[in-house]
């Protein structure tokens, strides 16, 4: 205990516990603790709690997702599909050693001044992961009001938006919702098959000078996305339940219906 151990206060002790002191100050606090057994014991106990909290809850980061949550079994709230993504990403991040997880887009054609397109797939996958698991409120407007739904979304998107008919593929329209700007407003249509497999079609307005693009495929977590731009609109068809081939077939049907 010497003169230059400037007063060590409660805040210093917590900063020591949390490893937030610069080296010099840390040494001063440790010298201060060294001659105060009671305070040292208290600080050690606090630090032990930090470690115990991480030891207990870090496991959540790579928890295995129960099978019934990802399968087609009835779910109370199919949000668990997103949990599947979460664990998938935890594995991916661990393997890749990257903090921010990157979208893997396989480009069918050379990218040509279309920097925004992977964002389309990314946002669509996110919107899918957010709403597809919902049981009670998957859509804002149900398919029973399809005319109203389509008119409403067309008005908000400033163009002729249509909901493709996918009954031939075993998919019926559940309904749709309006999503926040991306940068313009976005429409999301949701379809569901009899066993409860879901697909969403994400439609957003593109800049006026956009051309058409080929289908591109991206995968975000366990959500697969086929996306393309066709004049005024960008489209992304997403699903965690369909495999790539099934989704591609569906994307072709959607494309053909929107371009008769």
């Amino acid at each position: 205990m010497s003169e230059n151990e400037n007063s060590v206060g409660e805040a210093d002790m917590h900063a020591w516990v949390d490893g937030r002191l610069a080296e010099k100050r840390r040494a001063e606090v440790e010298a201060w603790l060294a001659v105060r057994p009671e305070e040292a014991e208290r600080a050690a106990a606090y630090r032990a709690v930090n470690e115990q909290l991480r030891a207990r809850f870090d496991a959540v980061l790579d928890e295995p997702v129960p099978a019934h949550l990802t399968g087609a079994a009835p779910r109370r709230r199919r949000w668990r599909a997103a949990a599947a993504i979460a664990s998938w990403i935890a594995v991916g991040a661990a393997l890749g050693g990257v903090a921010g997880w990157q979208l893997h887009a396989e480009r069918a054609v050379a990218p040509l001044a279309l920097p925004d397109i992977p964002v389309l797939a990314h946002r669509a996958a996110l919107a899918h992961a957010t709403y597809a698991p919902e049981v009670r409120h998957p859509v804002e407007v149900g398919a029973d009001q399809e005319q109203h739904l389509v008119a409403w979304l067309s008005k908000r998107l400033g163009g002729d938006v249509r909901a493709p008919r996918l009954e031939s593929e075993g998919m019926t329209l559940v309904g749709g919702r309006l999503l926040p700007r991306d940068p313009g407003p976005v429409a999301q249509f949701m379809y569901q098959s009899a066993p409860g497999r879901r697909v969403t079609l994400y439609v957003r307005t593109e800049g006026l000078d956009q051309r058409e693009t080929a289908f591109r495929f991206a995968r975000e977590g366990n959500v697969r996305v086929f996306y393309w731009i066709d004049r005024k609109f960008g489209y992304a068809l997403s699903s965690a339940d369909l495999d790539r081939e099934e989704l591609l077939r569906l994307a072709n049907v959607v494309y053909q219906q929107l371009n008769p």
């Binding site: 115990q52 909290l53 959540v60 990403i89 921010g100 996110l126």
Partner: protein, 165 residues
């Protein structure tokens, strides 16, 4: 916009915090889902270049506060009791249960501060911003939370634990 880190990539972190915050698994995942939905509709308010994770914690805090106001009680404490009683008590398992019990017993405001600092490794400054409180309040809540947890972990005030053999 194009380089915005993935919200989805942060879901595991949100789940970890939510689990520690509300205790019970399905309630925690419901909180995460409510947070993601809110975040999705508020995404235009997120400022590029700022920490997306801290922003998501802010959203989760607001969602959680609203839920707490709606008086949804934490159930973890009671649910643990039967399981605790019939299980052979091992050192580590007991420690974990004491820890969960102690954290669950904290007032929500203190629990949030402790978890953001100790578990999520946010700085005091970030914690203050996430919770919308002055940094002095962060420090005082942190001090109180730690002291309570320490007392409970050492058996003071944790009377219920004595029931278990």
């Amino acid at each position: 916009m194009s380089d915005a880190p993935s919200l989805i990539a942060l879901i595991p972190r949100l789940r970890r915090y939510a689990r520690a915050l509300v205790g019970e698994r399905s309630a925690a995942d419901d909180l995460v889902q409510d947070t993601l939905e809110r975040a999705w509709t508020k995404l235009h308010l997120y400022r590029e270049g700022t920490d997306l994770r801290a922003w998501l914690f802010t959203v989760m805090h607001n969602v959680h506060v609203n839920q707490v106001r709606a008086a949804r009680p934490t159930t973890a404490l009671d649910e643990d009791m039967p399981e605790l009683a019939q299980r052979a008590v091992q050192g580590d398992a007991l420690l974990v249960r004491d820890l969960e019990r102690a954290v669950a017993a904290l007032p929500a405001a203190q629990r949030e501060v402790l978890l953001l600092v100790a578990l999520e490794d946010l700085s005091y400054d970030e914690t203050a911003r996430v919770l919308g409180i002055p940094i002095g309040t962060v420090m005082s809540r942190l001090a109180r939370a730690r002291e309570k947890v320490r007392a409970m972990m050492h058996g003071k005030g944790g009377g219920k634990l004595q029931v278990v053999k």
